[in-house]
């Protein structure tokens, strides 16, 4: 077989596999063995997607979900980043907060939904709260580990060159822990995304991608569900590639620190 055929073989196989999966699905959907409402054809899903985008509902829901994710993430970073860094730098702070964090970490974020509903009502506040809870821990743990992992050699060198506490902090520790911070951000985003969908299903009032899926169940509209799932997957994928990929390239990759950062 020619070298070109060899090199394209994985791509050809990927394509075949996707087409095969799609074909099997279509086959099942059209076979009539399942109700069309439960297993819509790909054409129907595409139509639901198209309609949803055109009449503005899907984008509005997506924006609502994104808003909650970003707000929750922002809140989580505001809490976890400084705390994690301080924990890494000062032993007493670590000693106080580590047991608390370890106790709270094994609790799934969705377990707090009923409580948050009672405290904050349905809607944005609860969703943002759950997202924040989910995102705080990966960010905290990574910031903490990142600071601790800063090569003590760098600190010694900077000290020898006369750097004071503040300089040390901002010019050595923070950039030095960047790979971990980035990994923490990525994991936090992933958790946030999972949390927001769950929270929207259980606690959203009217808007959000998670809410659409839940609502569509009541009306047996699997085509809408699958369309929303596709949108969720797309946004997650886009964020991963565009936002995090870019961030990584601009910082840790450029500095050759990539190996340390994979979380």
């Amino acid at each position: 077989m020619s070298a070109l055929a060899d090199r394209t073989r994985p791509f050809r196989r990927h394509l075949t596999s996707l087409l095969l999966a799609a074909a099997v699905y279509e086959g099942l959907a059209r076979s009539g063995a399942f109700a069309p409402a439960l297993l819509p054809t790909l054409a129907n899903v595409a139509r639901a997607l198209f309609e949803g985008v055109l009449d503005g509902t899907l984008p509005a829901h997506a924006l609502s979900t994104l808003y909650r994710v970003l707000m929750g993430l922002a809140l989580a970073i505001t809490i976890a980043l400084p705390l994690g860094i301080l924990m890494g730098r000062y032993r007493p702070i670590e000693g106080f907060f580590l047991p608390l964090a370890s106790a709270l970490m094994p609790i799934p974020s969705l377990a707090w939904v009923p409580l948050f509903i009672l405290w904050f009502g349905l809607g944005n506040a609860t969703a943002i709260g759950i997202v924040c809870y989910a995102a705080v821990f990966p960010m905290l743990v990574n910031a903490w580990s990142g600071v601790r992992a800063v090569n003590p050699l760098w600190l010694r060198v900077a000290n020898a060159m006369g750097a004071g506490e503040r300089t040390l902090f901002w010019k050595v520790i923070v950039p030095g822990s960047f790979p971990f911070l980035l990994a923490g951000l990525r994991q936090a985003f992933l958790r946030a995304w999972i949390a927001v969908v769950g929270a929207e299903m259980l606690a959203a009032s009217d808007w959000g991608l998670g809410w659409i899926i839940f609502d569509a169940k009541e009306f047996l509209k699997a085509d809408v569900m699958l369309a929303a799932l596709a949108v969720i997957g797309l946004i997650g994928f886009a964020f991963e590639r565009l936002v995090f990929g870019a961030l990584e390239r601009l910082t840790v990759e450029r500095w050759g620190m990539l190996r340390a950062g994979k979380g």
């Binding site: 609790i107 969705l110 707090w112 769950g198 299903m201 839940f214 799932l229 997957g233």
Partner: protein, 272 residues
């Protein structure tokens, strides 16, 4: 804390037990502080008592539910679902991961499908599963199995591919055939990554199970217990439930996997 450890090793017995108390006290301190703050807020009734119960109320609810057998029943059902879903994920996940690691064809075919499923949060599939399989146990077990299979597949696949070339060569040189190579070299060699995958899968399974129980309206289960409690504003029940959920999550992590890892990959020096 590090210096405490080494000090413990070298100090005479009386000093050692006092430093042990020291560490215990230090670990308990944050909880005591937080607990005290909570109690103060609760007793001052800054928030309505119904919404912010005191620690004694939570404790007494916990005792009541345990003694009446309700809490154990909820917990048992949840754990049963977890075990079934996870077992499903482990079997299917390891099989697919091994196939992907071993045969290029399997990897090329499965990778796009598996990668597509991964960025979508597992819980997003929940209503779909409920639609297809109805409310109750089957949907929750299947969903848990489906979602926790992904980390297992990826990590097992990585593990198989990470088996060192030099082990394979040495084994082949000593006359191993395909089958024996697989059992005696590939499987043990892939174990560190596989265990990581199983551990991540279990954590994932626990997280999603609680959410699914809330949606699937199963009659018994910890998720349902705390979700249902909101109807009567029983925050004390909710908080007691949250504590139990967290404790089980911790136990799963510490007891199950730590033991397994200590006996295998840590003993063999493949993971510290």
């Amino acid at each position: 804390m590090q210096s405490v450890g080494s000090a413990m090793a070298s100090a005479p017995t009386s000093q050692r037990s006092s430093t042990r108390w020291h560490t215990l006290a230090a670990t308990a301190l944050p909880f005591v502080v937080v607990g005290a703050l909570w109690e103060i807020v609760a007793h001052l009734e800054i928030f309505p008592a119904r919404l912010f119960p005191s620690l004694e109320t939570i404790a007494s609810v916990f005792v009541r539910l345990t003694v009446s057998g309700l809490l154990p029943h909820h917990a048992a059902d949840t754990i049963l679902r977890l075990v079934s879903g996870f077992a499903l994920a482990a079997i299917v996940g390891m099989a697919v991961g091994i196939a992907m690691g071993r045969w290029r064809l399997a990897e090329d075919l499965a990778l796009p499908i598996v990668s597509m499923g991964a960025p979508i949060p597992g819980i997003a599939y929940a209503p779909l599963f409920l639609l297809w399989f109805g409310l109750g146990n089957v949907s929750s077990i299947l969903l848990v199995g489906f979602v926790s299979a992904f980390p297992i597949i990826f990590n097992t696949w990585t593990g198989v591919k990470a088996v060192k070339e030099v082990w394979v060569r040495a084994a082949l040189a000593m006359g191993a055939d395909e089958r024996r190579l697989f059992h005696k070299v590939i499987l043990p060699g892939a174990l560190p990554h596989t265990l990581t995958g199983l551990r991540l899968g279990l954590a994932q399974a626990w997280r999603i199970l609680i959410g699914v129980e809330m949606l699937a309206a199963v009659p018994w289960g910890l998720g349902w217990m705390i979700f249902g409690a909101r109807e009567f504003l029983n925050t004390d029940v909710m908080l007691a439930g949250v504590v139990v959920i967290g404790a089980i999550g911790l136990a799963l992590e510490k007891l199950v996997f730590k033991r397994l890892e200590d006996f295998t990959v840590v003993r063999w020096g493949m993971m510290s």
